[in-house]
Structures are given as C-alpha cells and as structure tokens.
C-alpha cells in the first residue's frame, strides 16, 4: 500500500500548482496522472492568462466586474474577487518560475486584448501560453522531488465513513491495481469535453474527476453551463484562439459583412464568448454562413504579427486546411470548448465530502458562472490550485493517517474483470461514445429547447444501459487502452446525465444556457446555482443562492 499526506489526481496546471503548494506547506505529496504531465490538456491553451496589474494602471475591480458580467451574474462574487485580486501575484510568480511571457519594448510583460474586457490585460506566450506554463510547472515539479505516478489511471475513490481516504488506481503499463491512501485527495482532472463530438478538447478530457466526486456524494454545480468557443475548425474541432480576434481579427459572414456590428456594436468580435457564438450560429442558421461556418479574417494583421504572435494557429491552419492566415480567411464555427460547471467547492477547494478537494476545470468555485471569459481559466487553475494545495495539506496534518482495507482493490479488480469478460458482439465503446457526443452536440449546445434536451436525456439513459453490457476486445494487462476508454466512457455518461439534468432544470436563458423556448434571463427565479446530487434513481437537483458582494445584476450589453 502506498501512502501520502496529500494525493493530487491530475498533473495539469491546477494539479501541479496544488502539489507544489502542498509540498511547500510541508506535506508528503504525490501526484498521479493518466498521462505524462506535459501531455495534460492545459498545454492546448493558446491565448493567455488574465491579470490586472496595478503597476500598469489596471484595477482588479475592473477585472472582477467584467468577470461577473461575463458570468451573466451567476459567478460567486467573493470567489471572483479572490481570483482577480490574486491574479497579479500569480502571473509574476509564473514569470519568476521561468515562463517566457512576451514583453513590450521596455522589457516588461506585454498584454493583448481578450473578449468581454475593455482593457488589454491578457499576458501571453505567443499563442502557446498553456504549453509554456505547463512545461514550467513541470520543471518546478521535477525540481521539487514530489512523487509522480505517471500513466496511472484512477478508477475509484476510497470512501470510508463518508470521508475520502485515497484512491484505487491502475498502473497502465502493467495493468496492476494499487491502493494509494491519503487523508486528503485533490481532484484536478480537468474538463469533460469528449462528452461532445466535436470538441476542442483532447481525447483524454473525459470528466473523470467529476464522475468520481459525484459518485462519492459530492454535488456537481452548474453543469448545464457548457461553453461553445466561437472559433473552432469544422473538420476536427481544433481551436483557433480568441487571441486571433484580440490581435484584431474580423468575423465575416458569407456576404463578407462584419456581422458582429449588429449583435455587439461596441465590443464587436470581442464581446463575451456566449454572445459571439450565438451571433455566429444565428448567421449560419439564417443562411448567411458558408457551408455551416462563418469566416475568420486575419489578413490585415500582416505576416509579421501572424508569424510571431499567432504562429501556432497559423501552423494549424496550414496543417489542416492548407491555408496561410496571411493569405485567406478560414472557415470556423462555434464548438464545444469548456465546462463552467464542475465539482462544487468553496474558495479553498474543499468539496462537500471531507478529505476531498478539487481545483481547475473539474471544479466549480464558481468564478465563471454561466460564461467564462477567455484567459480566466488558466488563472483559475493556478490561483485555486494553490489554495486547494494549501488547504488539503492543512487538513491532512490535522487528520493524520488511517488504515484502509485492501478490500477496495479487490472490489475494483472484480469490476474490471467483469468488463473484460463481457462480449463485444455488435456494440462498442466507440459507437456509444459517438452517439453520446452527437446527441449532446445537437441538443445541449449553443441554442437549446425543452424537447431537444429531453431527447438528449433519454438517449444518455439508453446509452448507459448499452454501456453496462459492452465489453472490450483487448483482454491483456499491458497498456490496455481499450479498457481505459471503457472506464472513461463510464465517467462521461455519468457526467452527461448531470449536464442534461441541469439544463432541463434551468427554465430561463443565462450565459451559455440559451433556450429558444425561454429566451429571457429570470433573476427572480433562477439567480441561483443548480447543484446535482447522485441518487439511485438518477440526478437530483438542488439550488444554492449566488454570493453577491458589490455588483447587482444588470442587463448585459456588449
């Protein structure tokens, strides 16, 4: 049996930041990840990280206000204040660790503009900000000597007396299941994008932590808040960063019009993401698109800007479309991108299950509410990752270790044996996943309505039944990715069900949850979070008031 004070599940930005903080607080920390840390999906973040630096004349209150407004007033304002107040420190800390942020002519950190914000307060490394940050945090992890269980897959949480006491995990290389105990577990497992098809998210982003916490009794929150990013490639869902518009890119419809003038006269292309995605979808739906897309035009930015500041997306456009951004506009459309919802935590990352913490995209603090501002998520990972690390270390110290029965491993062994024993006749994990992805993308996306969401809900239920019967062809132990996909699909179906439940419960339109059958925001009845609890008969919804400090709801115009 392996034992640590704090066990962090996930080695993306949130997980590594949490592990470093817990280590600094004196805990014996281990970090476990189903992929090598630098493969984590944080590396795909392109555009940047927000911070209002006071020595640049910016004000955290402006950042906080714009985040609140962006969230369509569903974000908890106490948490948003923490986020924006701590942002400057977090960015400078990253710089000191080694992140090679772009600079201005004076050698100081430079910024670019991002959506939903009046000021340029997004710090960036060309268009590979996530990769730059992830690799630097990994460097710090190597330096720290924190134990790393690399390519280990967590199959369940160890729950005893209502407390989380560790995990059971599969060492992918050997196929061996191990018990790892710790008085505090931090889930930093990222989002759940693969529930949708297509998605900007990597194939490993399967909502594992959300499903694990949900099963352990911790509620998920605001799961209906699924962000569609305005600029993704039709063909494979790959993201074209908002920085393309931040640097001055235009959106054009099939008639060559800059249609955002109509929908957001003041912020135009840089309105909030939900607003831009809806505008694009409206253009497409009303016949002013181009083969189901609209166009992103960067030609006027010039080669120099494109090749230095937007080099990666230029590479993507060349690789997948054969188009150079300096020469022609590219077709793009809204695509599933980010989960505002997640495991409900307080501002210290604590879930409602003792011993269980969460941070990053898998958590919902909530700083993003009904719509996240671009470049606020990287910030969320490092600010709340650190806080979860601190809090979990303190909790572990106070509680100390308890013996845990090895029976937990035997249970998981039996479960996995069961999956491997099933036949694969006719059905497959891949087919079920694709059907789930399509039904979610068709019905719980940019625009929604009752009937569609119900259809998604019943389809997911049916798919769950099929899932319970489907097996995998690969019966081996060593690097059995077939088995891993099967386990991931189980997680995704559970999470998909909570998304549908939340969406059906919210009978209004707010942020990313835009219902054509109920187009107005209803503050009187729905200025509140939807908590989803697991019960034997399916998800149960409960409501929680939004925390407000300084900003009262207003009509949202951009």
């Amino acid at each position: 049996m392996l034992q640590h004070d704090v066990l962090v599940v996930g080695a993306g930005l949130a997980g590594m930041r949490a592990a470093l903080a817990a280590k600094q607080a004196g805990a014996n920390v281990a970090i476990i990840s189903k992929v090598t840390p630098v493969r984590s999906h944080s590396n795909a973040a392109q555009g940047g990280i927000n911070a209002a630096l006071t020595d640049r004349g910016d004000d955290w209150k402006e950042h906080a206000y714009e985040t609140v407004k962006g969230s369509d007033y569903l974000g908890d304002q106490d948490a948003i204040e923490i986020l924006s107040q701590d942002a400057g420190r977090a960015v400078i800390e990253l710089e000191h660790m080694g992140v090679v942020f772009s600079r201005g002519p004076d050698g100081l950190l430079g910024t670019r503009r991002f959506g939903g914000q009046q000021r340029a307060r997004t710090f960036f490394v060309a268009d590979i900000t996530g990769q730059a940050m992830l690799h630097v945090l990994f460097e710090q992890l190597l330096k720290s000597g924190i134990t790393l269980y690399e390519e280990w897959f967590v199959t369940s949480l160890v729950m005893e007396d209502g407390q989380c006491r560790g995990v059971v995990a599969l060492e992918i290389k050997s196929g061996k299941l191990e018990l790892i105990t710790s008085p505090a577990v931090v889930l930093a497992t990222g989002g759940c994008g693969r529930i949708y098809e297509p998605s900007t998210n990597g194939l490993i982003v399967t909502g594992d932590g959300m499903a694990l916490a949900y099963k352990a009794g911790a509620p998920l929150m605001d799961m209906e808040m699924v962000q569609y990013h305005p600029t993704t490639l039709k063909q494979n869902g790959i993201l074209i960063t908002e920085a393309a518009r931040g640097e001055g890119g235009y959106l054009l419809n099939g008639k060559g019009e800059r249609f955002m003038d109509k929908y957001a006269p003041s912020m135009k292309e840089l309105a909030s993401r939900d607003v831009v995605s809806r505008s694009e979808q409206t253009e497409i739906n009303e016949g002013r698109g181009v083969n189901g897309c609209v166009l992103l035009d960067l030609r006027h930015l010039g080669r120099q800007v494109i090749e230095t500041k937007l080099a990666y997306i230029n590479e993507v456009a060349l690789d997948y479309l054969g188009i150079s951004l300096a020469e022609a506009p590219i077709p793009i459309r809204p695509g599933m991108h980010y989960m505002m919802g997640g495991i409900k935590t307080d501002v210290h990352g604590a879930t409602r299950v003792p011993g269980l913490y969460a941070a990053g995209e898998t958590a919902c603090v909530s700083v993003h509410g009904a719509n996240r501002l671009g470049a606020n998520s990287l910030l969320d990972t490092v600010v709340f990752g650190r806080r979860a690390g601190d809090a979990s270390a303190a909790y572990a110290k106070e509680r100390g270790h308890k013996n845990v029965s090895e029976a937990f491993v035997a249970d998981e062994e039996a479960r996995i044996k069961g999956i491997l024993a099933r036949s694969t006749d006719g059905d497959s994990v891949a087919k079920i996943r694709l059907e789930m992805g399509q039904v979610m993308n068709d019905n719980i996306s940019v625009f929604r309505h009752e009937e569609g969401m119900k259809k998604a809900q019943t389809t997911i239920r049916r798919l769950k039944e099929r899932y319970a019967r489907v097996g995998v062809q690969n019966k081996g132990k060593v690097f059995n990715t077939g088995l891993i996909f099967s386990l991931e699909l189980g997680y995704m179906l559970d999470v998909a069900e909570t998304i549908a439940a939340g969406a059906l419960a919210r009978k209004e339109s707010r942020g990313a949850h835009a219902r054509v059958d109920m187009p107005d925001r209803d503050d009187a009845n729905f200025l509140k979070h939807a908590l989803v609890f697991r019960t034997e008969s399916g998800p149960r919804i409960d409501w929680l008031p939004v925390t407000m400090t300084q900003w009262q709801p207003q009509k949202r115009v951009y």
Binding site: H96, I128, I238
Partner: protein, 323 residues
C-alpha cells in the same frame, strides 16, 4: 479513400514466437485524414487491442510520435495523402531508440531521465525582483522557438548517435538545456555549460541533421547544440576533449586549409561550401576522441586565404547571431 496501414505490432504478453508481427489494416478514411485519425479509426472500429498514445490531435501534447514510413513524426501532423506509397500503404512503427512497451507505445523513462540530467528549471541569481524580470522581448521570442519543444521524442527516436551511444544526452534534452543557457534570467549559464561539457554531452553530436529534419515543431535541436558548443568555448571550456579537438580542427583548417591525413580536404566539398565545411568539425572531434586523429602538420593548400576568409566570416556571423 482506401488505405492500408502496415503497423508494426508488439504484445509482451503473447508467447515468445508471436510477440511481434506486422499487421495490415485496410481502412476507408476521408481525404484530409492524418495518420493519427486513421489509427484512431482502426482502434475504435476494427481492433481496440492496438495501443498508441494520443490526445490533442493538434501537434501540441507530444503524445503521438511514431515512425511513419521510416521516419519519426507526429501521427497527428502527418497527412495520409502525402504519405501514400505503392498500393496506398503507409508503414507505421513505434519510435526508435526507446524500448517498446506495446505496439506503438514506447517507454520514455530514459528520455525523461536525460531531461532531468540537464537541471531543467530556471536558476536565477540574487534576490527575486518584486515585479517581473526585465528582459528584452527579442531574447524571449528566441526562447519561445526552443521551448516550443513538446517533448515528443521524435528527435531522440531518429538520432544517429543514440543508436550507438546510449550515454549521449541527446537532442531533446540538450535543446532544453540551451533554453536555460540562453535565458537572460538564468544566473548559472557557466555551471550549466560545464555540466553539458562532459562525455555524452554537447560534443557527442555528429551533426547528422536527423533531429532537425524530424522535429515537428521547428526546434532544430542540432542548431541549439552547436550554439551550446560556441558558448562553451566562449566560456573557456577549452580544456575538454571535445572543445580541444574542435579548436585544433578549426585552427588546422584555418591554418592550412586541410586536415591532411583524414582526407578531409576542404576542396572535396568546395572551398566555399561553408555549412559542409563546418559540418566536418564533429567528425574530427569524434575521431579525436577515439584517438584516431593524426597529427596536424601539413603544408597550407592552395587558396588558403579563401579558407581563412570563410572562417573569419563564419566567426563574425556567429558572434553577431549571439549578439
């Protein structure tokens, strides 16, 4: 589009004689598919026992390096259409220079051990400033080019030296090393250069160019290694075997225009073929290391003035490039 993926497979759990084999998968894929898309189609709809790593599909996570038609590449950056050979076959194998775990999955433990060896974290000197370090944007831009490395291992897979010398730190780790040496915020460039100036370090590269060719992110590890060599010499590491022989070679060529006994007559490559000429340096270094380097006494060749000019020019250019 009908294609055949000819995949080299390996299953350590199978009986000895059936552990490795080549398997053909015929699949129908869209015209614009990548090799990775096609492999995913196989594993999802044909055979889920085929193991490979992948995630982002966008050449950023570094998971999917493999050998495609004999050369290391990212599966997700390799367009099927450009690779089709006879009978629409594409050959897919695991990366080289790393032990195979299963099918296309290799064990990268040694890769990461070598990354660790170069102390891959920023080591600033003196007290931390309150705000950010002030640093020229150009220097940072330059670093972005190196830290674009996604640690995929493609360069390591195809490095010719690693094939024969497992102790070589290798292209990826040395590129990473360069990233710190070239960082104006790092205060330990000299210690680092000392660290890399050992057997297995910067002098072991033969400049075969493979790593530059296969790197999917334009990191050009070989160029970074050459830059480290220059800096090592500038920093005074001339006592080491590699640097000593590089210097001897350079001064010999500069002095006489040839390194006789080795038949490395500059003329062979054309007096003005500077890259090729400089490309010979490592050969001499390795020869020297193995004590095969003959004494360097010989008469200047004709046209020596030209050779000297080339050398001085190259030196100036390198100095200018380093700023």
């Amino acid at each position: 589009m009908q294609i055949t993926l000819r995949v080299k497979r390996y299953n350590p759990e199978a009986p000895e004689e059936r552990r490795s084999w080549t398997q053909d998968y015929k699949v129908d894929v869209p015209e614009d598919s990548t090799v990775l898309d096609s492999l995913i189609q196989v594993r999802e709809y044909v055979d889920d026992s085929l193991s490979l790593r992948c995630s982002c599909r966008g050449a950023i996570c570094g998971s999917c390096a493999m050998r495609v038609n004999g050369h290391a590449a990212l599966g997700c950056k390799s367009k099927v259409q450009k690779l089709l050979g006879k009978d629409n076959v594409i050959a897919v194998e695991p990366m080289g220079n790393q032990p195979v775990i299963k099918d296309l999955v290799v064990d990268m433990t040694v890769f990461w051990d070598k990354i660790r060896q170069v102390q891959p974290w920023l080591q600033p000197q003196g007290p931390e400033p309150e705000a950010e370090y002030v640093a020229p944007n150009e220097a940072m831009q330059h670093l972005v080019g190196v830290m674009g490395c996604i640690m995929c291992g493609a360069c390591v897979s195809d490095c010719t030296v690693l094939e024969v010398d497992k102790n070589f730190i290798g292209p990826a780790a040395l590129a990473k090393a360069y990233r710190f040496v070239a960082d104006p915020r790092d205060g330990h460039a000299k210690d680092r250069l000392g660290l890399y100036n050992k057997a297995g370090g910067i002098w072991d590269c033969t400049r075969c160019f493979e790593c530059v060719q296969v790197c999917p992110k334009g990191v050009a590890p070989m160029d970074r290694i050459m830059a480290l060599r220059d800096q090592a010499i500038d920093a005074g590491f001339i006592g080491s075997y590699g640097a000593r022989h590089a210097e001897a070679f350079a001064s010999s060529v500069e002095h006489s225009g040839t390194v006789n006994e080795m038949s490395l007559v500059v003329n062979t490559f054309g007096m003005f073929n500077l890259p090729k000429l400089l490309g010979l340096l490592p050969l001499a270094i390795r020869a020297g290391y193995k004590r095969k380097m003959p004494p360097l006494f010989h008469k200047p060749v004709e046209g020596i003035a030209g050779v000297r000019r080339i050398f001085h020019k190259a030196e100036e250019q390198q100095k200018a490039a380093r700023g």
